[in-house]
Symmetry: C2
């Protein structure tokens, strides 16, 4: 082959000056820039059909205190290693729908219709993508909540405060619910958590939601085939779920790690939103060591869509190996 240099590849090359084979008059005008594909993806776990339904991707200025025990420069180094932009934190939100054959369950609800309106559709896309996936929100009979952070629970309500999933039971971790509804806990909590979370949770878990709410326990099935796993640390009642059908399994991790390019790669990093960072780290290492040992797939709420991966060990932590897109299910 001839020399392949940067100059040849990159520098402005001379136009080949090809003659037009087709008269200009019959050439169609290029269509205007199009929209992105709808953000849903389907796969099977045994007889269960999983639909990952993205709620969008949030981009924000990297907080100075993103990681309590790493410097901003170290975080930026991790972003660079992941070919991500400096000083920008990119966080995807990816709820899933599980069709077990007898139940149609949504796990976590995304940032909400109100967020869609506030962000001009950058986040809060869940309802639109559910529709694109052919899933009627009225057909969702079960909503399973992993923990009480806004990007997981706010989507329970429409912008007017009414129920987003009017025919669904709302199944929540007992430990998590008790904590956020406890006035004593609220009185002892730091101001930021009260204003950012306690008050929000008391807004979201309104009378209509409470009518449909049931708590579930760790170590038991929430509905047949979906087992709740204690993965506390990120919050006191943070819960992951194992989907199991036939011999197939997937670990739905919620926020055991936030974005993998920071926190799977650096499991020892303590993110500012980990309520008990030491417990969260212990959970993270335990879960990820298990995923590696079992060669079990993980579905990550904050992984890049469609958020399904295997995990392998690296020197300092873990790396996700995305499961290849299958265009035929």
């Amino acid at each position: 082959m001839s020399e392949l240099t940067r100059r040849e590849l990159i520098a402005g090359a001379v136009a080949a000056g090809l003659a037009a084979a087709v008269p200009a008059s019959v050439r169609a005008v290029a269509p205007p820039p199009g929209k992105q594909a709808a953000g849903f993806y389907r796969y099977k776990v045994g007889s269960f059909e999983i639909t990952v339904v993205t709620d969008g991707v949030n981009r924000m200025k990297l907080p100075d205190t993103m990681v309590g025990n790493a410097t901003k420069d170290q975080v930026n180094e991790a972003l660079a290693a992941a070919y991500m932009e400096k000083d920008v934190f990119v966080g995807p939100y990816n709820p899933i729908v599980v069709n077990t054959g007898s139940k149609l369950a949504l796990i976590d609800t995304g940032t909400s219709e109100a967020a869609f309106n506030n962000t001009k559709g950058v986040s809060g896309q869940l309802m639109n993508n559910l529709a694109a996936a052919g899933i009627d929100f009225k057909a969702i009979d079960t909503v399973i909540i992993s923990h009480y952070h806004g990007d997981h629970v706010n989507g329970l309500l429409k912008a007017d405060g009414s129920l987003a999933f009017p025919n669904a039971e709302v199944l929540v971790p007992a430990v998590e619910h008790k904590y956020w509804m406890d006035d004593g806990e609220m009185s002892r909590a730091p101001k930021g958590r009260v204003e950012g979370m306690f008050i929000n949770n008391r807004r979201v878990f309104n009378a209509e939601v409470m009518k449909r709410l049931r708590t579930y326990e760790w170590g038991k099935e929430v509905i047949p085939g979906i087992t709740a796993v204690d993965t506390s640390g990120h919050t006191v009642g943070h819960t992951a779920h194992v989907l199991s059908s036939g011999s197939d399994k997937v670990f739905v991790q919620a926020d055991v790690t936030h974005v993998p390019y920071l926190f799977a790669r650096n499991p020892g990093w303590h993110a500012f939103y980990d309520q008990n960072p030491v417990a969260a780290e212990a959970t993270r290492r335990k879960v990820y060591d298990m995923l590696v040992a079992e060669r079990m797939m993980v579905q990550g709420f904050h992984y890049p869509f469609p958020s399904l991966a295997y995990v392998e060990k690296t020197g300092n932590g873990y790396r996700e190996i995305p499961v290849p897109w299958n265009p035929t299910i």
Copy 2:
């Protein structure tokens, strides 16, 4: 947190026996299993809009002679390391459409409508996914071919032999075209290549295609913003393309590697379909070293959809870092 053991996670857990909050009568029946999302994905390179349009994924029994200088066991080890099934070769096909603002160019054409019919839609999905992406096949004004293997050229024709892109010029690498149309080369070629490729290429490049065909040269722009790069070895005229707009670039590699989990990871492996395996390896190493050094994105025809990644060096070869899915372009 409580003990997180495999047993707790995996073993059959006791149903939580939650009471139904919603009467059965108002519960919607779960919808029947749905279809996969349409296989297209959009991103920008400067002012260019790229649409990756998948043609599908082929699954076949792993050939014993897949890699000339590695054993089948070694190939299976690489599959296991990628969490892929043993003895199965999974190969995606991912053409792209480039809207430069003045041209609407398709790079490579996939396996064809005939393949769609023969495989019941497992491959040959290009035309359907183009339509899903809102791209009228009649609006494609330029088809750019990387090399003359069936999964890249067969889609030029519909099942009845007529033009799949009736308003497009067909731009082909001069070296590649000359080789496959040369009767002397055909007379000297091994029987398998004659039957599998020479005869197929003379079928595909029929009178109608030839009327619209123009050859292009390496190191020059094929159309403004798309430069042809000599990446011979896989075939004698195998060509990659650099898309360049403003300060943004992407390297459209065609078959510099086939699937990355085998051939980026093991650049020294000689696949049976590399016509000149030694030259193909040299090209592969040169291109991938450049991609690493320049931190340039690669668009890989045989990468898992949407096939856009950065590349980093590993001990023995290279690893792709998929660019995170962006649901808003």
